[in-house]
């Protein structure tokens, strides 16, 4: 297995003469969860889009799994954009089938869609409503089906843009649990978020962007300086209160 899931060298992008991200150099280890943090306009989403070829970088190189360019590893990648507008005239089954068709290649041509769809729908808890129109879905359910499409082809690398935004407590809890499970299964996860609590709970590594430049890259514990006892105590208390709250709602057993 590759040690590096992603290697970025000198990535820069500007729009209309204004630099959005500038000379980004970083590496993301395989099997870890990496958080991309920064204020609004820091360049988080643009960085993700550059990595995925949605936005074409002005300069720089991106290599996946040590040496491969994007085109070679697209089948190994799952992605959920920020606030995607899903095709509401389809039901979950049709939506997944569409994305299944888009991912066909000579290696997976004979794979069974029904089986794969059942697995991911079960994983995101939408098995019961697979033939219901996406129009009737709540925001949380839409986020879940978005994640289901990202997981459909069993990706090795998962990119999530603000996956926690707009989710209620139950949705956040579900997503956190799912991401932990995926990490245990060996999936490399990169996500952007404004939520410090999720970052602290989930991330192994963190990449802080400020005005399009890297302000910090490294392990989360280094960033938080967890040797600081007061900080560690505050975090422990925070999780204790949150766990109690979820337990009362019957979400955390």
């Amino acid at each position: 297995m590759s040690k590096l899931a992603l290697r970025v060298e000198g990535l820069s992008k500007s729009f209309a003469g204004q630099s959005i991200v500038s000379d980004l150099n970083f590496q993301i280890p395989a099997g870890a969860i990496t958080g991309l943090v920064g204020f609004n306009g820091a360049g988080k989403s643009t960085t993700l889009k550059c990595l995925l070829g949605i936005v074409l970088p002005d300069r720089g190189s991106v290599y996946f799994f040590d040496t491969h360019p994007l085109a070679e590893v697209k089948k190994e990648i799952g992605y959920l954009p920020e606030r995607p507008q899903l095709p509401e005239f389809l039901n979950s089954h049709e939506f997944l089938k569409h994305h299944w068709n888009l991912s066909l290649n000579s290696e997976n041509f004979a794979d069974n869609f029904e089986e794969a769809a059942s697995v991911v729908l079960k994983k995101v808890g939408l098995c019961e409503v697979r033939f219901k129109s996406l129009r009737t879905f709540s925001k949380g359910m839409k986020q879940r089906i978005g994640i289901a499409q990202a997981l459909l082809r069993k990706p090795k690398l998962l990119f999530l843009d603000e996956p926690f935004s707009g989710l209620d407590l139950e949705g956040r809890f579900f997503l956190r649990t799912l991401l932990k499970e995926l990490k245990l299964a060996g999936v490399t996860i990169v996500f952007t978020s404004h939520s410090v609590s999720e970052m602290i709970e989930l991330c192994d590594n963190i990449l802080v962007l400020n005005k399009g430049r890297i302000a910090f890259k490294g392990a989360l514990k280094d960033f938080l300086n967890l040797s600081n006892e007061a900080m560690a105590k505050a975090l422990a208390e925070f999780y204790s209160i949150e766990a109690q709250f979820l337990q009362k709602l019957g979400l955390n057993e």
């Binding site: 070829g53 949605i54 697209k74 992605y79 995607p84 569409h98 066909l104 290649n105 499409q149």
Partner: protein
């Protein structure tokens, strides 16, 4: 064989989903309803005319269908890609292992299929109403169409469809470079320029210095020759026999139109390859 299948399956999936979406939209139904209203208007105006019943019905009906077809073609071509980018659904699809050319082709085919479906529905309805009026009029009808009019109607219908696809592709190309409203305006200007070619020629001939004449000659080769084959009018369907058609000119017209569609699509696809989807 497998490679061809692997290339086309995603393309067809994109076009099918898009067609389903477009059909589920109120705007599309609005266009269809407008077309139907214009068809009813053509029947009504035909009924109240004293001697030109079929001619009026044919003329206004075809005008109505063409009007709806062109508005739909301009709108679909101008707005579709922007809409996809704005709501980020293209990002979701393009991250999949497909090429941008496949996505672009899927979008074009989806719009094309919707355009064909809508215009064909209106044409069939129009044809049906004419048949109905002709039959209800019977042998005692004051006016009847010459034999073979069905073939000439089919030709007119084909030209209507072809013209809609041609201008849809132009709008599609423009939308890769400019905002939707500007793309709409550019396509409309091109449409007008195509239809004003004969007027331009008239003025060009009167130019003494030759500059205007030269400019017209260049323009003539740059613009699709849609004003050359005027089969989409009641006069052709009503009176002229198929023998009055200039087949050489017709084949040239068709080839040039297909060439224009192909070139415009390829340019649009090339532009899309280098487009930032934000």
């Amino acid at each position: 064989m497998t490679n061809i299948k692997l290339y086309w399956l995603p393309v067809l999936s994109i076009s099918r989903v898009l067609q389903k979406e477009l059909i589920s939209q109120k705007l599309t139904w609005g266009f269809l309803l407008t077309g139907i209203v214009l068809l009813f208007l053509s029947v009504f105006l035909g009924e109240i005319s004293i001697q030109e019943k079929i001619r009026v019905q044919l003329h206004i009906g075809l005008f109505g269908i063409n009007f709806v077809a062109m508005i739909l073609a301009f709108t679909l071509g101008g707005f579709q890609i922007h809409r996809e980018i704005e709501r980020q659904s293209c990002a979701l699809e393009l991250v999949r292992p497909i090429q941008r050319s496949q996505w672009c082709l899927g979008q074009w085919l989806g719009c094309f299929a919707t355009l064909m479906l809508l215009i064909s529905t209106l044409l069939v309805l129009h044809f049906g109403t004419i048949q109905f009026v002709l039959q209800s009029q019977g042998a005692s009808g004051s006016l009847s169409l010459q034999a073979g009019w069905e073939f000439r109607y089919l030709l007119a219908a084909f030209v209507t469809l072809l013209e809609a696809v041609l201008f849809f592709t132009f709008a599609f190309l423009f939308s890769m470079h400019v905002r939707p409203s500007l793309s709409l305006a550019c396509t409309f200007v091109l449409y007008l320029a195509c239809y004003w070619q004969s007027d331009l020629e008239f003025y060009a001939r009167k130019d003494d210095e030759g500059f205007f004449r030269y400019a017209y000659e260049v323009l003539k080769w740059l613009l699709p020759p849609i004003d050359q084959l005027k089969v989409r009018n009641s006069h052709f369907i009503f009176n002229a026999g198929a023998e009055s058609l200039n087949w050489t000119q017709g084949v040239l017209f068709l080839s040039l139109c297909f060439l224009w569609i192909l070139v415009s699509f390829m340019l649009a696809e090339l532009s899309f390859r280098r487009k930032d989807l934000v």
